[in-house]
């Protein structure tokens, strides 16, 4: 069995003269992988290239060990795709639509109908399954897109901005579904999103795209670890000399909207309490009183910012 669900080898994709992906080489491990990036980074383009919608100008794409260019039907038989834009088959109610999608994926009619009912219940549309899809709210449309992607029991799911337009409760439920699929139902998935908390909550691994290239990739824990050790500090007195002292000592200092600043200490892990002692020492030297000092956990947002801001 392949170690990676998806592999891209020097893949470039262009829309006319605009390069959407530039010589991308990356492997997505099995499990739940977040595909992060600002708008226009190339996330959706990458998913569409993996589906075979857009042929790459150069490079090779492999999904579940199959070459997309050579075996597109076999690839798509194993994939479920939840597109970013609303999409449905016109004139059908939800259960007919989802069963139709199952039949398109090769399921016999009776099985397709049974699966459609089951999957619609799973995504929370059981009570609304006989309503026409065109009458659905935005949140319901997101759910039915997930249902049609799931109905043929794919090995790998591509979810493109699955929580777009959902209210907070619906978003929470959608994220629970995604997390359940990846962690309890054994379905590998790639979650493309610009919403960092969504990826942080559902995924174990992340690929950050920026301007059509991979800016960072790795497990979320390790990427957060690379960010250094972070501390929240609040001082009384003039902060400028303190910040200058921190910077001179090789530490990074970020001021937040509140009066708390974030101090990042890089380099090999120090003995327990050593970093805090150094920060307090520097404060004393620069005439500032430390009123609050607490170790903080690096967030995915910081990982993302660093990757995207890197030259």
């Amino acid at each position: 069995m392949a170690e990676f669900s998806v592999q891209l080898d020097r893949v470039s994709v262009s829309y006319g003269t605009n390069a959407a992906l530039r010589d991308v080489t990356v492997a997505f491990p099995k499990g739940a992988v977040g595909l992060l990036g600002p708008n226009g980074a190339g996330k959706s383009t990458m998913l569409k290239a993996l589906l075979g919608f857009i042929p790459p100008s150069t490079g090779r794409l492999n999904v579940l060990g199959l070459n997309v260019a050579e075996r597109p039907l076999e690839v798509r038989a194993k994939l479920g795709y939840m597109p970013e834009n609303d999409g449905h088959i016109p004139g059908m109610n939800a259960v007919t639509f989802v069963a139709y999608c199952a039949q398109l994926a090769g399921l016999p009619k009776a099985d397709a109908m049974q699966r459609a009912h089951e999957v619609l219940y799973y995504v929370g549309l059981g009570e609304a399954r006989y309503r026409n899809v065109e009458e659905y709210s935005t949140g319901m449309k997101q759910r039915i897109k997930l249902a049609q992607a799931l109905v043929h029991d794919p090995e790998l799911l591509f979810l493109d901005e699955p929580t777009n337009g959902m209210d907070p409760k619906g978003r929470e439920e959608m994220l629970e579904l995604i997390r359940d699929l990846a962690h309890n139902k054994g379905i590998d998935l790639i979650l493309s999103s610009h919403l960092l908390p969504d990826v942080d909550y559902t995924c174990d691994y992340v690929v950050v795209l920026n301007k059509g290239a991979v800016a960072a990739s790795g497990s979320i824990d390790s990427l957060k670890g690379d960010a250094g050790r972070m501390f929240e500090v609040r001082v009384k007195g003039e902060p400028a000399p303190f910040i200058a002292a921190l910077t001179a000592a090789g530490m990074e200092c970020m001021e937040t909207d509140e009066d708390v600043m974030r101090v990042i200490v890089r380099g090999p892990a120090a003995a327990r309490g050593e970093d805090q002692r150094r920060i307090c020492g520097l404060a004393r030297q620069s005439g500032a009183q430390v009123r609050h000092l607490r170790a903080s956990v690096s967030t995915l947002e910081e990982v993302f910012d660093r990757a995207v801001d890197a030259p």
Partner: protein, 281 residues
């Protein structure tokens, strides 16, 4: 603690159809959906009125041969029948075909279809099969039934032996209309998200070319420019198939080339427009 029996999502372990058969799902579903519409059934039934009239004609001529002087049952009668069905071909093409791809484009359904294990060619094939099946139902089926009824009423094969070319002529002349109408309409349907606009485009393509030909005929005083009209090209080809004297001065080869050109353009349009992703350059 995990639940004793989790019913929330089950993996599927049943059978799957072989790859390459998804177009049949599109065709079957499309045909079934249309047959559920009463107004469409009415159109299909109306398309059989000429068939009933011709059946009565064949019956009368067989029972009362003198009636044949007024209403002859010959090759020309079968040709006229095929051409009379053009009106119903137009209706069915507009009613069935206009929405086939346009509605899918409006609902962003192409990305759903093409993310499933089917090729663009299969999608187009499925849609063509829907329109083609109904067009065949109002052309080839009644045409062949009329030939069978002639044999049944006469109780012998004399007419058929003397006019054996009628069978392939009915099939090919009908098929030419089915193929040209289906491909043209499907290509137009892929160009827009509005079913109404597609219907107008199709009607325009048929009537505008006919009108231009009419004007040119008056100006030039000749029917050599008949190749401008889609309908005239089909009639020109039909004359040859039924071994009738040509009614236009335009060479048949030119008509064939124009019709083939129309097909090539339609296929090219479909190839460009039916995609999982719409690229705006």
């Amino acid at each position: 603690m995990s639940p004793i029996h989790d019913q929330s999502y089950r993996h599927y372990a049943g059978s799957r159809a072989p790859l390459g058969s998804a177009w049949t799902v599109i065709a079957r579903t499309g045909i079934r959906t249309l047959l559920a519409r009463k107004w469409f059934l009415a159109v299909l039934l109306a398309a059989y009125i000429p068939f009933i009239v011709r059946t009565v004609q064949i019956y009368l001529v067989t029972m009362y041969p003198t009636a044949g002087q007024l209403l002859p049952v010959d090759t020309k009668m079968f040709m006229q029948f095929v051409e009379q069905q053009s009106f119903f071909i137009f209706l069915v093409t507009v009613f069935v075909g206009a929405s086939l791809i346009a509605a899918d484009r409006r609902a962003n359904a192409l990305q759903i279809y093409l993310s499933k294990p089917l090729l663009r060619m299969e999608y187009i094939g499925g849609k063509l099969a829907i329109l083609g099946a109904f067009l065949a139902f109002v052309t080839i089926v009644p045409g062949l039934l009329l030939i069978l009824l002639q044999v049944a009423f006469a109780g012998n094969l004399e007419f058929l032996k003397a006019n054996l070319h009628v069978i392939p002529a009915v099939v090919l002349a009908s098929l030419a209309r089915v193929v040209v109408s289906a491909f043209t309409m499907l290509a137009l349907s892929s160009l827009s998200k509005s079913t109404r606009y597609v219907s107008i485009l199709y009607a325009g393509a048929i009537f505008f070319t006919e009108a231009i030909y009419g004007v040119m005929r008056v100006i030039t005083g000749s029917s050599r420019v008949a190749w401008i009209s889609i309908s005239a090209n089909l009639e020109n080809v039909t004359d040859v198939m039924f071994r009738q004297p040509p009614r236009y001065d335009a060479p048949v080869l030119v008509s064939v080339l124009v019709l083939l050109g129309l097909l090539v353009v339609s296929i090219s349009v479909l190839e460009r427009r039916v995609r999982g992703v719409e690229v705006v350059a």
